[in-house]
């Protein structure tokens, strides 16, 4: 019974989430949050978008890392956080352009 209730709860949340957030996010990030967005009318950097979608689920952007450190961190997260190969490359370009 509890398993059934939990399953129903998960399905409900999935449906609600798909309905509310089915539209791709086009909100412009704040200048502080954006490393590469030049002004408020341009679309967010795809790497920044992937960072928010994947890495931002657990932690904030790192304070300051060198490109070599970024490469090690992103490789680590590729394995640990199950990043796709494409997302890994986009995030790498965003954090170490």
């Amino acid at each position: 019974m509890r398993t059934l209730c939990l399953t129903l709860l998960l399905i409900s949340l999935l449906g609600y989430s798909l309905k509310v957030f089915a539209t791709p996010q086009t909100a412009t990030p704040t200048p502080k949050a954006s490393k590469t967005t030049a002004n408020k009318n341009t679309a967010p950097d795809p790497g920044e978008q992937k960072f928010k979608e994947n890495c931002g689920r657990c932690h904030n952007p790192p304070d300051s890392l060198s490109p070599r450190e970024v490469k090690a961190v992103v490789r680590h997260m590729r394995v640990r956080a199950m990043l796709s190969a494409e997302d890994e490359q986009l995030i790498l370009k965003y954090l170490a352009p």
């Binding site: 398993t3 590729r78 640990r80």
Partner: protein, 344 residues
Amino acid sequence: MNRLFLLFFLIAGMTSRLHAQSDAPNVPILSGAVAFQGTTNGGATSFTPIIVPVFVAPLGDHWLIESRAEVQGFIARENGTTGPYSGHFFANLDYLQVDYIANPHLTVTVGRFLTPFNIYNERFPLWIANLVDTPIIYPIGTRTSGSSNGGMFRGVAVARPTWNLTYTAYASTLTTTENLQAGRAAGGRVGLFLPQAGLEVGASYQRFLQNGDSNITGTYFAWQPPRIPLDVRAEYAHSPGGQGYWLEGAYHLAATRDEDTWLSRLQVVGRIQQFFKGQQPTPADALPAVDVNQFDFGLNYYLPHNVRLNGSYGRQFSSAGNANIWNFEIVYRFLFPAWPGGHQ
């Protein structure tokens, strides 16, 4: 210990040499956290200093060596609530694994790795977890130590702009060596991640192959809506020793995720959990011997420079006696290169 240092420098040196041979420079990094925790559980107070170093060394374009250890102390009164304080230190190797990224869909891992049952064990180290205490059902699927010794396949089976399907499959051998314990088990996990919705759901299965074989199952979900600084996570797990769930919500006091004010650095956390004793409990399950209900309420503050303060209050209800649980923690997250020139 000397062998560990030798291994460390060999790997770091090898990584640095590969940097010179590759277009994309590699550098090993040393990351992790230092924390100090204080807990009062049912009137018994204890203090726990912890250091958790994480070593990561990428090798070439396909290989990665990663390791995490945990050195912690436990300081408490000798008789629980009375007597002088005394303490002892112990260390544990959480993982030491070699990963080979074979292709965009497959990574092969061998060595000692965190058991990928549900998500708490793999994804919420102390510098990520919103509450100090691990969930009551944490031992389900992660016994005997939270780590496995063996091999694992994992990766993103299908990657689309709007959804990802992830998987892990692993096998572990029984190990009784001190600080390297692992159970004999095999299992796997599948997860569906919808990045635009910030939603992930998944399921885990494990066949525990010792002390009488048993099946262990679990489900989880995590939801971080993109526009709201809300974080919702939950897990359910079932084993012969018992079953239960936890549901946790955490909210930064801000209108959007990008907001950065003194108030937005404050996070309010709430968690409810229930545990129901199983038909075949054993002491090795590391689970409560009775049914337990518990709620926790916490306040976290994210200071600059990767420092976080946590404080929480919980109330536990069980036939063995109700208890108040107070926790506080200060945790500092660090990261620096483990080889000269890494800052370049």
